[in-house]
C-alpha cells in the first residue's frame, strides 16, 4: 500500500525539497509508516520521533485530517491511500 506524507517546508530540506512523499509501509499503523519514513530519511525520522519511538511533544501528526493524539497514537490505523500530515504545533503562545 502507499501513503502520502505531507511535510511542512521547514522539514523539506531533509527530503531534498520534497513536501509530499509517497511511502510504502510494511504494516497498517502509524508506527509502521513512520518506521518506513525513517528508514528512507533518518534525519527526518529523528525530527518527528525521539529515540524511544514517541512522537515529539510539539509535533502533530494527522491521519486523514484527524490528530492521532485523539485517535490511537502510534497504533492509529493508516489505510492505503491515506494522507498523513506532519505539522509543528503551536508552542509558546
Amino acid at each position: 500500500m502507499t501513503v502520502q506524507v505531507l511535510l511542512p517546508g521547514v522539514l523539506a530540506a531533509l527530503t531534498g525539497g520534497a513536501k509530499h512523499l509517497d511511502v510504502e509501509p510494511q504494516g497498517e499503523t502509524l508506527a509502521d509508516l513512520l518506521d518506513a519514513l525513517a528508514a528512507e530519511h533518518p534525519l527526518l525520522g529523528r525530527r518527528i520521533r525521539d529515540e524511544t519511538g514517541q512522537v515529539r511533544r510539539f509535533v502533530n501528526v494527522y491521519v486523514d485530517g484527524d490528530d492521532v493524539r485523539f485517535q490511537a497514537g502510534l497504533a492509529t490505523q493508516v489505510r492505503d491511500g491515506a494522507e498523513v500530515h506532519v505539522l509543528p504545533s503551536v508552542a509558546g503562545g
Binding site: 534525519l43 529523528r46 525530527r47 525521539d50 529515540e51 524511544t52 514517541q54 509535533v59 504545533s89
Partner: protein, 341 residues
C-alpha cells in the same frame, strides 16, 4: 593569529574573531539561526578547529552538530550523535555540555546531557556512547531536576589520569577515578539550603572548575555557596567570604595561573540580578581567600543575569575573560578582567 569566541544563544550561534590581539572583534553569524545553542565548544586539537554545538531544535528535538569550517557548513549524524540505547527507556532532552578531552586523547569528546547522563565520544563528537557507570548508579533515580532541568552540566576530564569529575543540578559533584566505571558523590561540606540536613548528594551545584596548578583543587559555585576543595572533592570549604552574594551560576578557573578564578555574583535564586544592579565580575588570586570586584567597563543598572556557561577564559597570556548576559550582551576582557568592553 586569530582569537575565536563562540557565543551560543537561544537564537543561534555567533562566532567572534579578533586578529589584533583581542583589541577589536568582528561578529560572524547567526549560524544555526533560530536554534537554541544549549552547549558549544571549539575543539582545537584537529588540524582545522571543530565547532561542536548542542542544538535544541524546539519542535524537532535536540542533537549535536559540528562544523569543520568555522560555521560555513554543518554536519550531523543521521541517526543522532547522542541517542539513548533502547534498554535505557529515555530520550535525549538537551545537550548541556560538550567538552573535548586532552591532546593525549585526541578524538575523545565528553557530553553532559539531560536527563542526567554522561556520554563519551571517541570519534571527535560524531557519535557518543552512554557512560553506563553513571547511568546505572543507584543514586540516579533520586537526582532531582534543577530549575532548568535535570542534567549533567559540567564534565572535567583530568588530563593526567583517568579521573573524570561531573557536576549535576541537582545531584552534586560525582567523581570517577577509573574513566567512568565507578562513581562516588563528593559533596562533604557543601550545604543545600533547600534540604533540611547537609546531604551526601543532591546538592544543586551550578558549576565546577579545576585550578591551573593543582588537579585536586576544585572551585564550585552552588545554588547559594561558593566552595573550594583541595582533595578532589573529599571535603569542601566555603570561599564566599568577601563576595557581595554567594549565589550565581558560573565559576571559571584560570587555565594558567594557580589560585586564580572568577565568579559573577547574583543576589539570590528568587532575585537573579547583580547586587544593586551593578554588573560585576569578581576575581580571586589566592584560591578564594580574598576577592576583588572588577567593574571597569561593566555597566551599572544591569538588571540581568549570567548563566553557568556564559563566563569563560581563553588560553592566552594574559588570560582573556568573556561574559555574556541573558539580555544579549557580551563583554570581553583581554587583561584577566581588569577592564572589559
Amino acid at each position: 593569529m586569530t582569537d575565536l569566541l563562540a557565543i551560543g544563544t537561544r537564537k543561534g550561534l555567533w562566532l567572534a574573531r579578533s586578529d589584533d590581539d583581542r583589541r577589536t572583534w568582528s561578529l560572524d553569524g547567526p549560524h544555526l539561526l533560530a536554534q537554541e545553542i544549549a552547549a558549544v565548544c571549539i575543539d582545537t586539537r584537529p588540524p582545522a578547529p571543530r565547532v561542536l554545538a548542542g542544538i535544541q531544535y524546539g519542535h524537532w528535538g535536540p542533537t549535536v552538530m559540528w562544523s569543520d569550517d568555522l560555521g560555513a557548513s554543518w554536519q550531523e549524524t543521521d541517526h543522532g550523535a547522542i541517542r539513548f540505547p533502547e534498554d535505557a527507556g529515555a530520550a535525549l532532552a538537551r545537550v548541556w555540555q560538550l567538552r573535548p578531552d586532552t591532546t593525549d586523547r585526541p578524538d575523545v569528546v565528553w557530553a553532559g546531557c539531560e536527563p542526567h547522563s554522561l556520554w563519551r565520544s571517541t570519534d571527535g563528537g560524531s557519535s557518543f556512547e552512554l557512560v553506563r557507570g553513571l547511568w546505572d548508579h543507584p543514586h540516579r533515580p533520586t537526582w532531582e531536576p534543577g530549575g532548568g532541568g535535570g542534567a549533567v552540566h559540567t564534565v572535567l576530564p583530568d588530563p593526567a589520569s583517568n579521573r573524570v569529575t561531573v557536576a549535576m543540578s541537582t545531584g552534586g559533584v560525582y567523581v570517577s577515578e577509573d574513566g567512568g566505571e565507578k562513581w562516588e558523590p563528593r559533596n562533604r561540606g557543601i550545604s543545600a539550603v533547600f534540604l533540611p540536613e547537609p546531604p551526601e548528594y543532591g546538592q544543586c551545584v551550578h558549576k565546577v572548575a579545576v585550578d591551573a596548578g593543582d588537579p585536586d583543587r576544585f572551585y564550585a559555585q552552588n545554588h547559594f555557596g561558593v566552595f573550594r576543595t583541595d582533595d578532589a572533592g573529599g571535603s569542601w570549604t566555603s570561599i564566599a567570604e568577601g563576595l557581595p552574594a554567594d549565589f550565581g551560576f558560573p565559576i571559571v578557573a584560570s587555565p594558567r595561573t594557580p589560585g586564580t578564578a572568577w565568579v559573577v555574583p547574583l543576589v539570590a535564586d528568587m532575585q537573579r540580578v547583580p547586587p544593586e544592579g551593578r554588573f560585576r565580575v569578581h576575581r580571586t588570586r589566592d584560591a578564594g581567600a580574598t576577592w576583588t570586584e572588577l567593574g571597569n567597563g561593566l555597566p551599572d543598572a544591569a538588571w540581568t543575569a549570567v548563566m553557568r556557561d556564559a563566563l569563560c577564559a581563553d588560553e592566552r597570556d594574559p588570560t582573556g575573560i568573556y561574559v555574556g548576559t541573558r539580555d544579549g550582551c557580551v563583554y570581553a576582557s583581554a587583561d584577566e578582567g581588569d577592564t572589559s568592553r
